[in-house]
Symmetry: C2
Subunit: 257 residues, 2 copies
């Protein structure tokens, strides 16, 4: 299919090459920032524009891989009303694209994308949403061409997936940062925790988190918990975080369960 990709950020950088690999043609890339847009257009071997008014009307699909708050406004620039228009957000409703015609929807990739990291897009879970039978058909065909892991989700389901992803990804990463901070207090390197962090994530790839829970709270080891609290007593934020997470483990998977 002929696609116009809008955006030059982390999603576009990974989605663009996946579309080409699947045999689609990106006929135009539209971006806001000259440097990143030109750079990505070279990788995608396609023309680019920085002017939303110059977007071609010749595409079958327009994909808005841009910031949540920019989606609604940008969608007004999409010419014609026969193409399928998609956004990639976990939190924005599909119908902010209703002004683009009957064919609109959502393709939300449940993954964290970084400039530096390669991702096997075939394994990225895609949450799909569309209204009419025609747009569903076209979105389904597009999504299956780039990923082996697609599912239809309602707006509410997508909201919960996004929220769960914040806990599993954003908050976990922040706990890594807290761990690094604690090590730095004693001039210790974060390196010592890297194998543990990787193994923690690998363990839940085939098991449920509840079965994999270990540690003082899981064992009901109050002596160690008190020792940890004493180490954290000068930092209200960390003490608080430690207490809440420890209590939550006790509530969900503690030794009395």
């Amino acid at each position: 299919m002929k696609i116009v990709l809008i955006g030059s950020g982390n999603v576009a950088i990974h989605l663009g090459p996946a579309l080409i690999k699947a045999g689609h043609k990106i006929i135009q890339l539209a971006g806001r920032t000259e440097t990143s847009t030109r750079k990505l257009s070279i990788r995608l071997n396609c023309p680019y524009t920085l002017d939303p008014g110059s977007i071609t009307e010749k595409a079958d699909i327009y994909i808005l891989a841009i910031k949540d708050e920019a989606i609604s406004g940008y969608s007004r620039y999409i010419p014609g009303n026969k193409a399928l228009v998609l956004h990639t957000s976990g939190t924005v409703k599909a119908d902010v694209l209703a002004n683009c015609g009957k064919m609109y929807g959502v393709l939300y990739p449940v993954q964290t994308f970084s400039r530096k990291r390669k991702i096997n897009f075939k394994k990225v879970p895609l949450c799909l949403e569309a209204g009419t039978p025609d747009s569903k058909k076209r979105l389904d065909s597009l999504a299956r061409s780039i990923s082996n892991n697609t599912q239809w989700t309602s707006y509410t389901e997508r909201q919960y997936i996004h929220l769960a992803a914040v806990f599993a990804n954003n908050f976990s990463n922040h706990l890594y940062l807290i761990a690094e901070k604690l090590l730095l207090k004693k001039d210790l390197s974060f390196e010592i925790l890297r194998p543990l962090i990787l193994e923690t994530a690998l363990k839940v790839q085939k098991n449920r988190p509840l079965q994999m829970q270990t540690g003082p709270a899981r064992r009901g080891d109050t002596k160690t918990i008190e020792m940890h609290k004493a180490l954290l007593k000068t930092d209200d934020n960390l003490s608080n975080m430690y207490t809440i997470l420890t209590q939550s483990i006790l509530d969900h998977s503690g030794p009395t369960m």
Copy 2:
């Protein structure tokens, strides 16, 4: 070296084979539970005992891979006072072993061990502690034979490493559980988050957590944060956890930094 391994739990299950692979001889396994001790002794091809009074005095090294609270009591059964006696705990002081003679210390593996999972022990970071030059020498030689990643740490350093590991491992795993719980509210499968969880851990293998932080708090996206809080409003524990972690991201890596 000739080793007596004490314990048949997750640490012993992984440490035992690593010792044999490194060319050491486990001359006896001592355990509390018949089934797991016999099973591990078959894997390690060594005799076993369930009676602490029957521990042989012919070993160069005794390793107590048992629960924190059992270490001190069990150490009294170790015969002779010429061998090196070690425990593997992240939180127990070395000198609870002082009754075993001059040669004692700590070999604390910074990893999470599960019965089901294979671990490359050569990559497990080992924190070492010992008092006398002789015990340091013997511990160093033992540790380097089973891991490429060893370092000497004081008791305080080990305490901080253990605390940091609780944040990076126990608490992260609990966040995976919370994420699963949120998905279950809408009958969604945890499967959708597994690639994201793995990628989150892979990203910090070569980068620092601060550089890898993404999400609404990192972006200062108050609209999404408010939406998430609304979804959590019926659950005080989760609301509280969300608020504290979000605020901590804002404090450490938010858009104003």
